[in-house]
């Protein structure tokens, strides 16, 4: 396998957490809920995913439980911001702390402090018969773990849901003009709560992917800002699933590049190379935000009986 192929293969592998977390951010955001707890929910997903997989001896059950946990947090965010109209950012930050604290707590409770943490097996690669034999494209796209296929199919599914279905028409209207949606009988609160729950589940899945792909165990700091970068990716992709999918390649590319250059022994201190993903993200956002439209009601709560806001 040549250099280019293996690089691209790593990039596609690294795209998954970005895709999942950013699509989660997007689906909640399109309904108007601005979740800022990604980083914490990814930690929680990583911790829970690892611990459950270890205890029950299977990655699928780890993924499912992590997703359910993240969904619960997302549901809570949606519930308190729609029913009680509490500030989305404040609740989001509180959930970030709670999730981050819970992630470490659960790990310590189950594993304790040890120099040799137990490992879980990483996800197997599934080759797609026939397609994986295509030169370059085959190994890059069709010799990957099930989660890679899931992330790509999910992006396509979200595109169809948002733009081709009646549910999508309603969902987007809730994030653009909830009063208009409400006046036509669309259930604003329910739409927001379930979109937020789905978003939280995807964020936790993004976290659970990390121990199952890279380390085989949970370590503090393993999320390393990917959650915050996912928010950047949602903005960068204009809150549209197809562009988020494309944009995740850039974020993953930066991540893999930073690792590669460090390994490659370039004459730049590795500390500066480790800044690359974050600096590159800020640089790109300086110029990319001009065209990106955001949902008009993103981050704002809706009060049907408010007499001043319209």
């Amino acid at each position: 396998m040549n250099e280019v192929t293996s690089f691209l293969q790593l990039v596609v592998t690294a795209m998954v957490p970005f895709i999942l977390a950013a699509q989660g951010t997007m689906i909640a955001g399109r309904a108007g809920v601005f979740n800022v707890a990604q980083e914490g929910l990814m930690m929680l997903g990583a911790s829970v995913g690892f611990l459950v997989s270890l205890t029950f001896g299977g990655n699928l059950v780890g993924l499912v439980v992590a997703g359910l946990g993240g969904g619960l947090f997302g549901w809570f965010l949606g519930w308190v911001t729609t029913r009680f109209r509490l500030d989305q950012f404040v609740i989001g930050l509180a959930l970030f702390f709670a999730a981050a604290g819970l992630a470490s707590l659960l790990y310590k409770v189950v594993i304790g402090v040890t120099l040799q943490p137990p490992l879980i097996p990483t996800l197997d690669d599934l080759s797609v018969p026939g397609l994986s034999a295509i030169p370059l494209v085959g190994p890059v796209l069709f010799q990957q773990s099930a989660m890679v296929y899931f992330a790509f199919l999910l992006s396509g599914g979200l595109y169809w849901l948002l733009y081709k279905t009646n549910h999508g028409l309603k969902l987007r209207s809730v994030g653009e003009n909830p009063k208009a949606a409400d006046s036509l009988g669309v259930n604003v609160a329910r739409t927001r709560i379930w979109c937020s729950a789905a978003g939280g589940a995807l964020m936790a899945l993004a976290g659970a992917y990390l121990p199952m792909t890279y380390t085989g165990t949970y370590t503090e700091g393993m999320v390393a800002g990917r959650g915050w970068l996912a928010i950047a990716l949602a903005f960068f992709g204009g809150w549209r699933p197809q562009y988020i999918l494309a944009g995740s390649a850039f974020f993953a590319g930066m991540e893999v590049l930073a690792l590669r250059v460090q390994v490659g022994g370039l004459d730049v201190p590795h500390q500066f190379i480790s800044m690359l993903p974050y600096v590159a993200t800020l640089l790109v956002m300086m110029f990319a935000l001009r065209w990106a439209r955001i949902p008009a009601f993103l981050g704002r709560n809706y009060d049907r009986e408010s007499r001043t806001s319209h």
Partner: protein, 530 residues
């Protein structure tokens, strides 16, 4: 007064004893309303009378504390708009409830249960909508994005929304705001067509003139109560004005508000006849002032001048550059070209604070968004804009004692109804918020006063208060620019009216030459004239 029992065997809609409170405020106090079949039913009253609240209850946007709604003789429970729609009620709100980024078709089908597999068939629905719009004289392109449509067309989309859902009762909330007189005629034509096809229309308005033009029956509301229901044929504008306002002493004081635009005004404002600004010096001179809208597109390009003591009106349909013009003249929006001077001092290009110091006072259109700090007290709201001036400052600190004294005297002078000077502005009614904004504008003795839709949404006494204060400012030598979408208000107050279309001034008329249809023609951009 003739209490009208509705025509036909059984009324189409009956609301009985509706009560609704918002916290401590009683918005509706046991209101009854009966709408017959095939009629245009006017719901008349000043702002704050509860007309819109009553209809929001009917449409399920507000939940009533008490009361019964009967449709076709059947009692119905309406918990949310979904229930209202399924019972055949449609409502066109004053602020259109549309998703700007959606097409006309998407806006109309939103909320229905169209099948999605394998994808939605929007094309078929577009055809159905086109058919509906021809039938009722409401033509609009079903594939256009609503953000690109004019106000008149967006209103048609709202009406089509209700018709598409098979509404039996169509409620229109102040539908003539922002329409030219010609568009109003076309709307009234469509309402007739709708009634002729077997539906009924509830027409909310505060203008007596409009109810006399289109309604069959009228219900008048005041202070959250129904004060009378009359047939149009059996009533007169004077009787309606009396019902709207209540006691006779008040009628005389606010008569110009309620009868605005009627053929024979009952009273005249105090300075109308004393107007003698014709040869006063020009205080404000604007030449070639160019302002862009939020998307960077040129939106207003005007030259004008205002003399001291003169009230100059800007007429136009909303969205023709009024916002950009107002903000540019107030120094809030950067100008791309041109100059603007007040008493010979050129202000263009300097920061907003310099304009304020220079004597420009601005009463913005959206008073909640641009005018107040909702969570802060009246004291703080009255300091806003003057915090760097010498008046409220001692050294680097603010002198809150002096600010409080100023607030208390303003509360008295402007009759602001508030428990105290430390009440947060958000707790006040729209009329009182507007009084705070006026108090702030007048406390600096402005040389140039810009008012943008200053009476929108105000109750009758507050509207009259704004008119009186505006005239008093002009009488003391201030140059006043009144930007309004209410032609009646403009013809009543202004010495001169400039008509704006697409950001340019397309016509000018002086007092004595006003003709609403002619002005409407100019506002629609149908005629270039000087």
């Amino acid at each position: 007064m003739t209490e009208n029992s509705s025509p036909g065997p059984r009324p189409l809609l009956h609301m009985d004893g509706i009560r609704k409170t918002f916290g401590p405020v009683v918005a509706l106090d046991g209101v009854d309303l009966t709408v017959g079949r095939n009629e245009v039913h006017g719901l008349l009253g000043g702002n704050g009378a509860g007309k819109t609240t009553l209809m929001n209850v009917l449409y399920g946007l507000y939940r009533a504390d008490e009361g019964i709604v009967t449709l076709d003789g059947q009692e119905v429970v309406i918990r949310d708009p979904r229930d209202a729609i399924s019972h055949g009620i449609g409502m066109v709100h004053q602020n259109f409830l549309q998703v700007d980024t959606y097409s006309v078709t998407e806006n109309i089908v939103l909320g229905t249960e169209l099948p999605s597999w394998p994808s939605m068939d929007l094309k078929g629905q577009a055809e159905r909508i086109a058919e509906l719009s021809t039938r009722f004289g409401l033509s609009v392109d079903p594939l256009a994005t609503v953000a690109d449509l004019s106000v008149g067309l967006r209103q048609r989309v709202e009406i089509l929304k209700a018709l598409y859902r098979g509404a039996k009762v169509l409620v229109l909330d102040e539908p003539t705001t922002n329409l030219t007189p010609q568009e109003v005629d076309s709307l009234f034509g469509s309402l007739r067509a709708i009634v002729d096809e077997g539906m009924s229309v509830v027409f909310i308005t505060h203008k007596i003139r409009e109810t006399m033009a289109v309604c069959d029956t009228l219900t008048v509301m005041r202070d959250g109560r129904r004060v009378g229901t009359v047939a149009r044929r059996g009533t007169t504008p004077t009787e309606l004005a009396g019902l709207m306002v209540g006691d006779d002493a008040m009628v005389r004081r606010v008569t110009e508000v309620v009868t605005a635009g009627m053929a024979a005004p009952v009273g005249r404002g105090p300075t109308v006849d004393a107007y003698a600004a014709g040869d006063a010096p020009e205080r404000v001179v604007v030449s070639g002032l160019l302002a862009h809208n939020d998307h960077g597109v040129p939106a207003a390009d005007v030259s004008l001048s205002v003399r001291g003591g003169e009230i100059v009106g800007i007429a136009g349909v909303a969205g023709n550059g009024q916002v950009e013009l107002a903000e540019a003249l107030a120094g809030v929006r950067p100008t791309a070209a041109g100059s603007m001077s007040l008493d010979g001092r050129d202000l263009a290009g300097s920061p907003t604070a310099t304009w304020l110091d220079g004597g420009v006072a601005y009463v913005p259109e959206d008073r909640h968004r641009d005018g107040i700090l909702p969570s802060e007290s009246i004291v703080e709201n009255l300091v806003l804009g003057a915090q760097r001036g010498r008046r409220f400052r001692s050294g680097p600190f603010l002198d809150w004692r002096r600010a409080r004294q100023h607030a208390e005297s303003s509360i008295r002078a402007f009759s602001i109804k508030a428990p105290s000077a430390s009440t947060p502005a958000a707790q006040l009614s729209g009329g009182n918020i507007q009084r705070i904004i006026l108090a702030r504008a007048f406390s600096h003795e402005p040389g140039f006063l810009i008012l943008h839709n200053p009476t929108r949404g105000l109750d009758i006494p507050s509207t009259q208060f704004v008119y009186d204060r505006t005239r008093a400012a002009a009488a003391s030598g201030t140059a006043v620019l009144l930007i309004s979408e209410d032609l009646d208000e403009l013809t009543n107050l202004c010495d001169r009216i400039l008509v704006v279309y697409s950001g340019r001034i397309v016509g000018e008329r002086r007092r004595g030459e006003y003709d609403q249809y002619e002005l409407g023609h100019l506002m629609a951009g149908l005629e270039e004239s000087a």
